[in-house]
Symmetry: C2
């Protein structure tokens, strides 16, 4: 038996596009003599469809695609993902299903039992969980068809009281198929592959898993679909961050000696993964929104430099416009560094000084500000003047403004709302400043693409004379260590203090994170590359006093 | 037996505050010889705690409050809400529970079975659903203790496969207690009271329900806790939008002839409810964030006028600052109307023309804009110049900027991102323009508070010469009818067209709603007063092409 895994970059709600892609894959699999082709979770509509699932027309369109695909399934079997109606009274009205298609028709439907509803997932918002699980006979083989999370509670210790593969195992399947939409985080792939290996090993059957690839706004999918043999060894991993169709002979999988198991990425590999993921994220968001060109403010600092490098890789230098917006406190080296980078990358650049605009604002506000000390208000005016100019160019010429804030800044609110927090997409909003340095170092390994001065000079917002980030914040290595524990590890301040961090600093940092929820509430979508993003997957009250305590 | 319902304005995460309030209520109930006092859902921490529930320390603090409350329960029984640990392996780690406290200790814990995970709710993100339901004997009465949604699946047709009161009814309870946090929408109270009445009627027992009151950011709770007798008649409804403690003698409830059942509000009542809810929403957001003063741009148009009236009621005229920001296309009558309103309300007002700032921006952009036709880009610059000035005053003097966009604008994207879409709180973001007119009419019933000219003149953004909203949008009565069907009724365009609306207009409106998800993604929290808000409770993909079709 020959099994094809189809790893496709789907577009939520773009039924024509998705259907064409899937029909092409079926045709390609047929040419490679596949008996069975497996698509990813909710493939007919793309994942995650969110509240489009509340539309009757949307559900109909999903079923129309499933029927179209079924029609194409002669001489080949397909397993496709899509929502299906729950015909029982009581319970949510739809299931998250795998459809088994052959002989031109829907032969069977398998419903997801474990509905992830945490972090970036909210599937129980829409779907009824299945409580029955059945295998199916095909080509003399008994197949267990599962949907993503269904195989993730293997130790029974997770968030669900049942483990569907245990139930399916009673029917003695010969193989497990898993259709999934498991999003990227820099450390997630080994976890996901290990889950596949554990299932294969525990039930003594091969596992074939098709994962979605591509970005859907802030949620990134790396693909890397995989096959394991019945000993729990990894047999193959499909390419990451790109579409692929791979066909496997079941007998060869059963006899395969296994390849090396996945490792937790070291720093260099982590930065490489982040780069690939962010480039895919930019490219897909532009392609799927139909916008071709991007604009950004290039300050001479490292955040906008890295953002520009990633955007050039994603969209091509010819589609980028870098705007230098020097203000009253911009340094000469910042302008020089920004120009150097734009030239290195071959990106169009323009310079629009903000001094006159800032003066005009200050004059308008003078009657009110006259007896006050210059402070945050004056600094923010500069950042906001830049945003108005960038948005003016964006609106006039149809460029999308890229936001260049990093995760450390976003976490502690070191940024100006409606100023440098503007943009259609926060490219590095889930990348800590220390990781920004790491990625920049990797990018410069062969050639000095990012001017070295941009990397070595002390970070500064340049909104007042001789300003340094460290005037307001602890050094980034310490700040990021604390933030990582607060956010990714979800440790309470007391636990971090017990780990040896300075009590005052930890409490201050935690307070800043909580006090700035209101700013992040209005930030652009952030491309998610970590296991805990400050955008999607984090839902905090805006006026909780907990952080103040 | 005397039962007290405690309807308290809690503050999420403010344990000291919540505990003091609850201890006071216990003391007051004791003085009124209550045997039992009932608090609202998750009362020890406030609802909704969101991802604070992922913090171990937060859960400990909840339990510390429960123990403190238990200690105070001598000679009186209390039912309080809070998260409790799930001691089983497998499943989510906490339950949404009702604690039964007496003799200084936790006597029993009752867990919520139906976890609302739709619209504004995401309880399955955190909680394991209970599958066992038990009554308890107290004072010779058998009591069924339920948590909010548990009593909402009474017809068995809802989103859940079980109906907990049916299970509890096998144990023949004498009364049902329901602790709840059921948010306000202008049409929701009759639904909620009817559910209580239906439960009372079906099981032939009285129902006592304590509901949360107060605002938690965008989510508003009207209280209006209630008691029904065993015939399913309403016996009493506690005051709405304010705290209350009411004590009921069970025998009197059993013999009560019933009061008039709730009605769906007519337009006038709807506007009155919206006004009360919005005033509470402003007041609580300021109080709970610790901010005293609000600033807003007063254009002379109706949206900012209504917002100012509501804010004055919530915060007091002395805490408001209205800023007139006339620009190149502002009309004389707009300035006059704005000044008249500020004077009518006794609100401090200042005038800061934006012409110089706008000129300065235009000059900066001239080299790029030189051969282009004036359009959206130039209009947005005016709106953004205003925002920079307002935010400058906000940052300098610690005022929170109020956003004045209405729901019709927000729906179709008729507003400037980082311009008039700025603010810390969108006061009327869930109020359609036709409802804005309705509320203004009601406010002006006795005196002309809002200048009549503000109400009768054709709405205009005044961003280009002789501009009218109807240049870009259909008349608001038609637009709002379509939007109501698209949003509140979740109808597909085809269904709305079948209802007799113009096909082109419906498709264009639906497309505008979908195409502007990206703008709303960055809008401030919107006080929710309708059953379907464009802010909390709506989760749409940003690049779905579905809306374009």
């Amino acid at each position: 038996m020959r099994i094809a895994l189809a790893q496709i970059n789907l577009h939520v709600g773009n039924f024509g596009y998705n259907l064409d892609k899937m029909l092409e894959a079926i045709e390609a699999a047929r040419k490679q003599h596949a008996d069975l082709i497996v698509f990813s979770e909710l493939s007919v509509c793309g994942y995650p469809p969110r509240d489009l699932l509340y539309s009757d027309r949307f559900l109909e369109q999903c079923m129309e695609s499933v029927y179209q695909l079924a029609k194409a399934c002669t001489g080949i079997v397909a397993i496709v993902g899509g929502p299906s109606r729950n015909k029982e009274t009581g319970g949510k009205s739809i299931f998250n299903s795998a459809f088994l298609l052959y002989d031109g028709a829907i032969q069977n439907v398998y419903n997801k039992g474990l509905l992830p509803t945490y972090d970036v997932f909210n599937e129980y918002r829409y779907f009824e969980p299945a409580t029955e699980f059945n295998t199916v006979m095909f080509n003399g083989k008994r197949i267990a068809i599962t949907v993503c999370e269904d195989i993730w509670n293997i130790d029974g210790l997770g968030m669900y009281p049942i483990n569907p593969p245990d139930i399916l195992a009673r029917q003695k399947p010969d193989l497990i198929i898993n259709i999934s939409a498991s999003p990227f985080a820099w450390n997630h792939r080994p976890e996901r592959l290990n889950i596949l290996m554990q299932n294969a090993s525990r039930y003594g059957v091969p596992v074939f898993s098709a994962n979605q690839v591509g970005a859907q706004t802030d949620l990134l999918f790396d693909g890397a679909s995989a096959v394991c043999n019945q000993k729990g060894q990894l047999v193959d991993v499909l390419p990451a961050f790109e579409e692929a169709l791979c066909v496997y002979e079941l007998d060869e999988v059963l006899q395969h000696p296994g390849i090396e198991p996945p490792k937790v990425p070291d720093d260099r590999e982590k930065y490489r993964l982040m780069q690939q993921a962010l480039v895919m994220g930019i490219r897909d968001y532009f392609r799927k929104t139909g916008i071709k060109k991007a604009i950004l403010g290039l300050s001479g600092g490292l955040d906008s430099a890295l953002t520009l490098v990633l955007a050039v890789e994603a969209l091509g230098a010819e589609n980028l416009w870098a705007v230098l917006l020097p203000g009253p406190y911009s340094s000469d080296h910042s302008v020089a560094d920004a120009l150097q980078l734009a030239n290195n990358l071959g990106v169009r650049h323009s310079t629009i000084p903000i001094n006159d605009v800032v003066k005009s604002f200050n004059k308008s506000l003078e009657p009110f500000f006259v007896d006050t000390a210059s402070g945050i208000a004056e600094e923010n005016i500069q950042a906001r003047a830049r945003a108005v100019i960038l948005m003016g160019l964006s609106n006039k010429f149809g460029y999308m403004l890229l936001n260049t804030s990093n995760k450390s800044e976003a976490a502690v609110g070191y940024g100006t709302l409606y100023g440098d927090m503007c943009g259609g997409l926060a490219v590095i909003g889930d990348v800590y400043k220390t990781e920004v340095f790491g990625m920049a170092g990797m990018i410069n390994e062969r050639d000095e693409i990012i001017p070295n001065n941009t990397i070595v000079k002390p970070p500064s917002a340049e909104l007042k004379p001789d300003q340094k980030d460290t005037d307001s914040l602890p050094p980034y290595d310490i700040l990021d260590s604390i933030l990582y524990r607060l956010l990714e590890k979800q440790q309470d301040p007391s636990a971090i203090i017990a780990d040896g961090f300075d009590e005052q600093l930890v409490r201050k940092t935690a307070r800043m994170v909580f006090m700035n929820e209101y700013k992040r509430f209005q930030s652009p979508p952030m491309l998610r590359v970590s296991p805990k993003c400050l955008g999607i997957g984090r839902e905090m009250p805006l006026e909780a006093v907990n952080g103040k305590q």
